[in-house]
């Protein structure tokens, strides 16, 4: 099943965040709990971890992109 991973909303006031770094490449196998990407908002670097295992199919946004909250940044294919 394809699952969209999004820019998390980390504060009530948060409108967007910067996708700072990919910690997994396209095609990588990901275990639940493993770090996927880092975002920055309000001086917080937040490591986003996988909530389920799968394969990172597609990175939809590049490093440095500003992404509105809850918009997809990647597609994870889960079993």
């Amino acid at each position: 099943m394809e699952k969209k991973l999004v820019m998390p909303k980390l504060r009530a006031e948060m409108k967007k965040g910067v996708l700072c770094a990919w910690l997994k490449e396209e095609g990588d196998t990901v275990e639940a709990g493993e770090p996927l990407y880092e975002i920055e908002t309000d001086k917080v670097v937040n490591q986003v971890e996988a909530t389920e295992s799968g394969v990172l199919r597609k990175q939809l946004r590049g490093e440095g992109d500003e992404v509105p909250v809850l918009e997809p940044v990647a597609i994870l294919e889960t079993k």
């Binding site: 504060r11 920055e40 001086k43 971890e49 440095g64």
Partner: protein, 327 residues
């Protein structure tokens, strides 16, 4: 910290003494403690010898004059948290609070106990903006966070008796607008030192001791890292915080362009950098060998020392003048 866990018990608090003033070691110390102690709360106080500390995703050259810092012997250290560039010296006290937290961002949870502690020792501090502490309109503290694996590291500066002239020169002296990139840009705020607002004077050592006593509940174990743990911190310092890959190689991708007059003739320098490596470099000047410049710069590492050496090859004794156009 005065919050409670689900079962009503106050989480365990620990503090580790870190007498080091080495800014690379101290970043590694924080990260080691963050990664190693995964339960309860941790409070740290520490100070750095003069250093510029940049945020995780900042372009160093846009924030500070890297070459001028080199000449003054002030190192640039990249930290793991977000936010902007700060200047540290021995008159600045850094605090770190580590705690378990779900993914929501919360600054007040960390700032409130610090502000209460400051008030209790006679510092008329108040919260300002999202994550600053101020006395009147003068900022005394900025903070930033790193969140991973259900844990948050919150840290902040406390200007006690920092040399504000140097701070101002370094953090506001140069904002280089030749970079087009998406990294985090620093805010510039008026600052003030805590010591000049105290009713009863105290030394920085007394300030640290009283702050530690206020921030940690009675009976909090005051720990030190064991020898083998300190070796691990040193390894992290050497392999990560002192490495080019971490400090320069994690600069967000950017495009650079600068024009001006070099030794009386027009000059235009352009390049791109990704993961700290240059591409599409061009130096257009009637006084310089453009083909050689392109060859030397393409694939070169972004860093003042390497750039200075390229400039010496290209411009001989006028290297410093040329370097101003490259960074």
């Amino acid at each position: 910290m005065e919050h409670s866990t689900a079962d009503g018990k106050r989480p365990e608090m620990r503090t580790f003494a870190n007498p080091s003033h080495d800014p690379f070691f101290n970043q590694a110390f924080e990260e080691y403690v963050f990664n190693t102690f995964r339960e309860g709360d941790v409070f740290l106080l520490w100070r750095n010898a003069p250093a510029v500390i940049v945020g995780r995703y900042q372009n160093i050259c846009r924030e500070v004059h890297a070459q001028a810092l080199r000449e003054r012997g002030i190192p640039v250290v990249r930290r793991m948290s977000g936010g902007g560039t700060v200047y540290h010296d021995l008159g600045n006290v850094n605090y770190t609070l580590i705690s378990s937290q779900s993914d929501l961002v919360d600054y007040d949870r960390y700032l409130e106990p610090v502000i209460r502690a400051l008030n209790a020792i006679g510092v008329p501090a108040r919260k300002n903006r999202t994550c600053d502490i101020a006395i009147g309109e003068g900022k005394i503290s900025g903070s930033a966070q790193k969140a991973a694996g259900g844990r948050v590291l919150h840290h902040g500066t406390l200007l006690f008796e920092t040399d504000l002239t140097v701070l101002d020169e370094i953090t506001t002296g140069r904002k280089n607008d030749c970079f087009q990139s998406k990294g985090t840009i620093s805010a510039i705020c008026p600052v003030t030192n805590i010591r000049s607002h105290l009713k009863e004077d105290m030394t920085i050592g007394e300030f640290q001791e009283r702050l530690l006593a206020e921030m940690t509940p009675p009976g909090t174990p005051r720990l030190t890292l064991a020898e083998d743990q300190l070796r691990e911190v040193e390894r992290l310092r050497d392999e990560k915080y002192r490495s080019w890959e971490w400090t320069w190689g994690s600069t967000p991708a950017f495009t650079y362009e600068k024009e001006g007059t070099f030794s009386g003739a027009p000059i235009r320098v352009t390049y791109q950098a990704r993961r700290g490596r240059l591409s599409d470099a061009a130096v257009d000047s009637p006084l310089l060998d453009g083909a050689l410049a392109a060859r030397l710069l393409t694939g070169a590492r972004l860093e003042p020392e390497g750039f200075a050496s390229v400039c010496r090859t290209l411009a001989g004794e006028r290297w410093a003048e040329l370097l101003e156009f490259l960074l």
